[in-house]
């Protein structure tokens, strides 16, 4: 069977078994990773999986079944089992389930890729990582780590409404990290970000990161941090680097605007949201500098695609405009419950997982300033960069972040290096205090966004730039 034929037969089997709606995703996925530690390769891994997942609606109950077996009998049985599970759901169901109308879409999409990451010699990948770890060791690291990863996903979607879409998505990323071991504590420096930087591009993206060029600095800064003064405790002006602000966006905006959370569908695990749909279009989320879009069309960004996993074509949409909350991340089922007329943010972590609302690329539009201007106009404060820890409550309000490094800001200039920086706050208060935002946007990739049960790992992108926030509590410690 071709992949489309397998999906079509699974959908038909679900309809024949009583489903009023069904869709099926066939995927072939490959994930190659490599890690080096202290001048040696630590692991080389190549994981491939293939299969089909079928989603069916029977009455008001949803069911989903997945199998790697793409033979005719197996995919038909998968369709039937999805309908059987949907029927069981109806034992504890509401009597209401629907999808917003969607035009049947036929299409293909492939991400841009200049250098196939799976065609690059393993020895070349290994030399790059091993070399960087050796340099970090030579410059002060007690523990030097480096990693790279590549994903390739080929997928075919068929729905009972007539969707027929195939896509190829290639993603890559890499990073290095140096740890210095002190008396009772550790200090870490990383490049380009705490867990690396990722994009929906080919291996040329990893080449551009040029890990080796930053290895010496990263190693020496980790060592230097051990003897740096501790970040002071108190309320101050805070300047955040773009990478840290990207995670701030992810946690305190991206997850908060997920419609399934707002509706309570994730209440028992990921949590809900402080946002109330009745205030969509009027709620003040932050300062007027805060303009956040949901944009899966950004070329090369980690949250980009041609169509989401319900077949909705990628499109840019406002989430926050001039500080006012105006949009959500939605799927066709959650939009129907909420009375909204758009979807487009549903993805599944592989063929064996149910598609659900996920962030795409959620991030800031450029501000009017530069980083240098922000520092120059700050009389006293702290600049923090590179995430080290993150935690936020189940309504996405109360957060605490730690970064690898901070610097004093005095009289418009960066000053002393500080260790163990943290800051804490409440989402809308924090965003309302943003009074300067840089125009120097970089799209940061987050490849480890966890959500759902069974757990799913999502890939998201976050356009971000340095910004300044007033009256922020810093220096929280045990």
């Amino acid at each position: 069977l071709s992949e489309f034929e397998a999906a079509e037969r699974a959908v038909q089997a679900a309809l024949d078994a009583g489903a009023s709606y069904a869709d099926a995703r066939v995927m072939h996925r490959r994930h190659a990773s490599m890690a080096a530690r202290n001048g040696e390769i630590e692991s080389v891994s190549d994981v491939a999986d293939s299969g089909i997942g079928v989603r069916a609606l029977v009455g008001s109950g949803w069911g989903f079944f997945a199998t790697p077996d793409l033979t005719d009998a197996s995919v038909r049985r998968a369709g039937e089992r999805s309908a059987e599970i949907a029927a069981a759901s109806a034992q504890v169901a509401s009597g209401v389930s629907a999808l917003i109308p969607g035009e049947p879409v036929t299409g293909s999409w492939e991400s841009a890729c200049a250098t196939d990451p799976f065609a690059v010699a393993l020895s070349d990948k290994g030399d790059r990582l091993v070399g960087a770890t050796r340099t970090m060791l030579e410059h002060g690291a007690d523990l030097a780590e480096a990693s790279s990863v590549a994903w390739e996903t080929r997928k075919w979607l068929v729905s009972s409404e007539g969707h027929r879409i195939d896509q190829v998505v290639r993603e890559c990323g890499a990073g290095i990290s140096a740890t210095a071991i002190g008396d009772g504590e550790t200090q870490v420096r990383s490049y380009p970000a705490a867990r690396g930087q990722y994009a929906t591009r080919g291996w040329e993206f990893v080449d551009e990161l040029d890990l080796q060029a930053h290895a010496a600095r990263v190693g020496s800064e980790a060592r230097e941090l051990l003897s740096a003064p501790v970040c002071p405790t108190g309320e101050t002006t805070l300047i955040l680097g773009a990478e840290q602000l990207a995670l701030q966006i992810h946690e305190s905006v991206g997850h908060a605007i997920e419609l399934d959370r707002i509706l309570g569908w994730e209440a028992a695990y990921a949590g809900t949201s402080w946002l109330d749909l009745a205030q969509l279009g009027s709620l003040k989320y932050g300062s007027e500098l805060m303009n956040i879009t949901i944009d899966p069309t950004i070329p090369g960004a980690l949250g980009s695609f041609g169509y989401d996993d319900e077949g909705t074509p990628a499109a840019c949409r406002d989430a926050v405009r001039n500080g006012v909350w105006v949009g959500v991340l939605a799927g066709r089922d959650s939009a129907a419950v909420a009375g909204l007329d758009y979807a487009g943010s549903v993805r599944a972590d592989g063929w064996a997982r149910l598609p659900m609302v996920r962030m795409t690329n959620v991030g800031l539009e450029p501000g009017p300033h530069t980083f240098d201007e922000i520092v120059a106009e700050t009389d006293e404060g702290i600049y923090m960069e590179t995430n080290r820890s993150w935690s936020i409550d189940d309504r996405r309000l109360n957060f605490q972040f730690g970064t690898e490094v901070a610097y004093e800001v005095k009289h418009g200039q960066l000053g002393r290096l500080l260790r163990n920086p943290t800051y804490t706050g409440i989402g809308p208060q924090f965003w309302s205090s943003m009074d300067m935002l840089s125009s120097e946007i970089v799209v940061w990739g987050t490849p480890n966004c966890g959500k759902g049960q069974p757990g799913q790992v999502g890939h998201t992108g976050h356009p971000s730039a340095p910004a300044r926030f007033r009256n922020v509590r810093v220096g929280v410690r045990a």
């Binding site: 994930h31 190549d46 994981v47 997945a66 069981a88 169901a93 071991i181 695990y269 935690s391 409550d393």
Partner: protein, 460 residues
């Protein structure tokens, strides 16, 4: 020979023929995993999967390659072997290769409960329905899950093993006017999941949380329920007793030191859920990590053990993970009371928790922790929040509900000698996360601790 062991041996033979003289290990696993999820008191996501996967690792001429694939037929196996064979020829040098596990007996797996492994979506829906009913009309959300799996292992050193097992878990909340209560359980059979009792417990917590007040941040004595203690135990497993992190000096754990209060005994018990060997084929065993407050062992795979001059304890994870070897079935020993816990009125999980409150003059009762993240592994300093029920304890009784706190606390310090003021007389098995088909399982009693550093309230 099971179908999975047969598959593993077949892959081993093919790889050995393709790369003569190589060191080869193969794990073949099949699982049927199902999870029924509910929110707003209705089942909204209901999933199942049947998957067979083969993991193949080849070491040859100083190089190592690890490949994995879903396998349906012999062509998939041939493709996997070809991929691994090509990869090992061009892989970077691997001077830290620890060699293969030698043949050794694998302990027997527990007998399977036929009712559990033959359970249907309707059975899970029935448990969910009982939870919803037990919550007495409060809005509910959560999941009921089960996994039945079979694994075969073979390597070119002659080690072969197979095992078959079942596990299940339930987690649910009840909601009332913005207040949530929770109940979780991970018994060994599906029949032991009492949805109605769990729903009643979650509802009692939610109802007792109305009109919560905010308490100033600061250090408070605490009683942590098993669901909260599970977070500490998981952090100890992943970042404390992890042999790789110990080797790298990123952990506070030191074998032989009296690092914990004498009331703390911590044991890994993977055999309870049939995990008889790890991904390197090393037999698992009951492993005492802390014995009466003294650190007695850390967890190793073959690579971390070789670095430490120790032997593997059977804690190797899949090759693609580089977190290091950590225990996923830890049990914190309860105090010996001899009496099984009973349900109690009010917000407490059960009578074993009530027994810890009696001597607390002023403290905080915590149902569970949420979104806990490491600030520094060396001191196991963690920040996070409370969730699903917090109350003030005054003169031995719960007096009023509190709004959630943020905390920043060294877990290691919280359990140091003198800091554990009480251990409950019964432990509850709490299900871990659901990112893998087989879920971690943490068995914990409630704890009374001298001090917990709450660094902020819900309002900031």
């Amino acid at each position: 020979m099971t179908a999975e062991l047969d598959l593993a041996v077949s892959a081993l033979d093919k790889a050995a023929a393709a790369v003569p003289g190589a060191e080869i290990s193969v794990t073949a696993g099949h699982h049927h995993a199902a999870l029924t999820r509910f929110a707003r008191s209705v089942i909204h996501q209901n999933v199942a999967e049947d998957v067979t996967t083969v993991d193949l690792r080849i070491h040859h001429a100083g190089r190592t390659a690890a490949t994995s694939a879903t396998v349906v037929d012999v062509s998939d196996l041939d493709r996997l072997v070809k991929s691994a064979t090509e990869a090992v020829r061009v892989a970077p040098a691997d001077p830290g290769w620890p060699g293969l596990a030698l043949p050794s007996a694998v302990p027997p797996a527990p007998a399977l409960d036929v009712g559990s492994i033959e359970s249907t979506p309707a059975d899970r829906a029935e448990i969910v329905g009982a939870f919803v009913a037990g919550a007495g009309g409060l809005e509910t959300a959560g999941y009921c899950r089960s996994t039945h799996w079979s694994t075969g292992f073979a390597n070119s050193a002659g080690q072969q093993a197979s095992a078959e097992a079942f596990e299940c878990g339930f987690s649910g909340i009840a909601r009332h006017h913005g207040a949530d209560g929770v109940a979780r359980h991970a018994p060994l059979t599906l029949a032991e999941l009492d949805g109605e009792a769990l729903g009643g417990r979650a509802a009692a917590k939610a109802l007792a949380s109305i009109d919560a007040v905010e308490l100033p941040p600061g250090r408070y004595e605490v009683v942590l329920e098993p669901t909260a203690v599970a977070d500490i135990v998981e952090a100890l497993a992943a970042a404390g007793f992890n042999g790789k992190l110990v080797n790298e000096q990123r952990s506070f754990v030191r074998i032989g030191d009296d690092q914990f209060d004498a009331s703390v005994t911590l044991v890994d018990e993977p055999l309870l859920v049939g995990q008889a060997f790890d991904s390197e084929g090393t037999p698992r065993q009951r492993l005492v990590l802390v014995d009466g407050g003294t650190t007695s062992a850390v967890t190793h795979d073959r690579r971390s053990a070789a670095e430490a001059g120790a032997v593997s304890t059977g804690h190797a994870l899949d090759a693609r993970f580089v977190f290091g070897p950590y225990a996923q079935h830890l049990s914190l020993a309860p105090a010996r009371s001899g009496e099984p816990p009973t349900e109690v009125d009010g917000p407490l999980a059960d009578s074993s928790v009530a027994g810890l409150l009696a001597d607390v003059r002023r403290g905080v009762l915590v149902t569970e922790f949420w979104y806990t993240r490491m600030l520094d592994p060396r001191a196991l300093t963690i920040t996070g929040l409370t969730r699903n029920g917090v109350w003030l304890i005054e003169d031995g009784v719960v007096t009023r509900p509190l709004r959630n706190f943020r905390f920043t606390q060294s877990y290691a310090q919280a359990l140091m000698p003198g800091n554990v003021l009480g251990v409950a007389g019964a432990a509850t098995a709490i299900p871990g996360d659901t990112y893998t088909a087989t879920s971690p399982r943490w068995t914990c009693p409630a704890l009374r601790l001298a001090s917990w550093n709450f660094t902020g309230g819900a309002s900031g």
